[in-house]
């Protein structure tokens, strides 16, 4: 299927990624949080306001063990999304606090900061230099 051409950088929307953590009485599933969030955002901003936020849930980033996930939105509507998350107080039978951990411009930083992901760069020249410093110096002739 053919796609429209990529827009020029000035016309592209600037995105922000919000990492959030769910504090709840019992562990929750992704879809429960999704429904609660849409309900809260539509109540707070209305349909036009929600359309303006250009919201997107990154499903792959949901971690069920640590109860952490990522939402993508437009850069100037971060505060609306954040307060919509704050206004969720109950999902199903369990009481809930949704705590935003931080905001970032790229997915790479979100993964590194809030999900503890490590790339090859972490094991790169820095660690090599550190290793050099730590090793005892030999007597030079």
């Amino acid at each position: 299927m053919s796609k429209p051409k990529i827009l020029s950088p000035t016309l592209r929307e600037k995105k922000r990624y919000l990492a959030f953590e769910v504090i709840s009485e019992s562990k929750l599933e992704f879809e429960e949080i999704l429904n609660a969030f849409w309900h809260s955002l539509l109540n707070l901003c209305g349909e036009i306001g929600t359309a303006n936020t250009n919201i997107w849930f990154v499903k792959d980033m949901w971690n069920e063990n640590s109860q952490r996930g990522v939402i993508r939105c437009r850069h100037d509507t971060v505060e609306y999304v954040r307060s919509a998350l704050a206004l969720i107080d109950r999902i199903g039978d369990s009481r809930v606090i949704i705590n935003t951990l931080g905001v970032s411009g790229t997915m790479k930083v979100v993964k590194r900061k809030f999900f503890g992901e490590r790339t090859l760069e972490d094991f790169g020249p820095e660690s090599y230099e550190e290793r050099q410093e730590n090793t005892p110096q030999q007597n030079k002739l």
Binding site: I23, N43, R82, S83, A86, V96, I97, N99, T100
Partner: protein
């Protein structure tokens, strides 16, 4: 940066640990444990001594007054005992008398159960002169839905615009009745931002203003 929430209710003094644990998780530096009566305050002071945490525990009293005379009597009664004095607003007379009293620190939800915003320029001006802060109450938003919530938002927006004009201090607090109603300080400030505050104002409302308030009150209480 040090974040404070000066209005967290303690219904049961034995459950302070839960509140403290949640505050630590949400990243607060200090929390104001709020009670309404003298007996509760005495019990709270005893239990605070036993709690062992890094979090700054502040005693605050919410004064629920039936009239203006009652308000003045209760303020003079509690002022030397608690670090923060919060007045339960809502009635116009009480809002006004509280704003004209130097001993009061915060007027809580001045728009509560009203058809107007509960603040006017006279109150805002006198609150500015006497260093009384106006509270944006998060719990009031959390408890209401749809139509009523939109009215609450409207009143809060009006209050914020009046306070901004007269440079009156604003404080955002959660007014939590249980640990599950507490929120992250940055989220509280985001509520302030969507209601018309600037980024700096909204962050000051959960950090600098409460910090200065607590510091100055502690200094005054030492001199007594």
């Amino acid at each position: 940066m040090k974040f404070y929430d000066l209005h967290v209710h303690v219904n049961d003094p034995d459950k302070i640990d839960e509140i403290v644990e949640m505050a630590q998780r949400l990243g607060f530096y200090g929390i104001g444990l709020t009670v309404t009566t003298l007996e509760e305050l005495k019990k709270l002071k005893e239990t605070i001594k036993k709690v062992n945490t890094n979090i700054d525990l502040i005693t605050s009293v919410e004064i629920i007054a039936s009239g203006t005379r009652d308000l003045k009597r209760k303020v003079s009664k509690f002022r030397k005992m608690a670090e923060v004095i919060i007045v339960y607003g809502g009635e116009y007379n009480i809002n006004r008398i509280a704003a004209e009293d130097e001993r009061v620190d915060i007027i809580s939800h001045p728009e509560y159960k009203r058809k107007d915003s509960g603040l006017d320029e006279i109150i805002a001006r006198s609150a500015k002169e006497r260093n009384v802060a106006i509270e944006i109450n998060f719990n009031e938003i959390l408890e209401t839905y749809r139509k009523i919530r939109s009215h609450v938002f409207n009143h809060m927006m009006k209050n914020i615009s009046i306070c901004k004009k007269h440079n009156t201090m604003m404080v955002i607090s959660s007014d939590a009745k249980s640990p599950w109603e507490m929120r992250d300080p940055r989220e509280l400030s985001s509520i302030g931002q969507i209601l018309g505050m600037d980024l700096k104002e909204s962050i000051d409302a959960v950090s600098t203003i409460p910090e200065l308030m607590v510091e100055s009150n502690r200094r005054k209480l030492k001199n007594f």
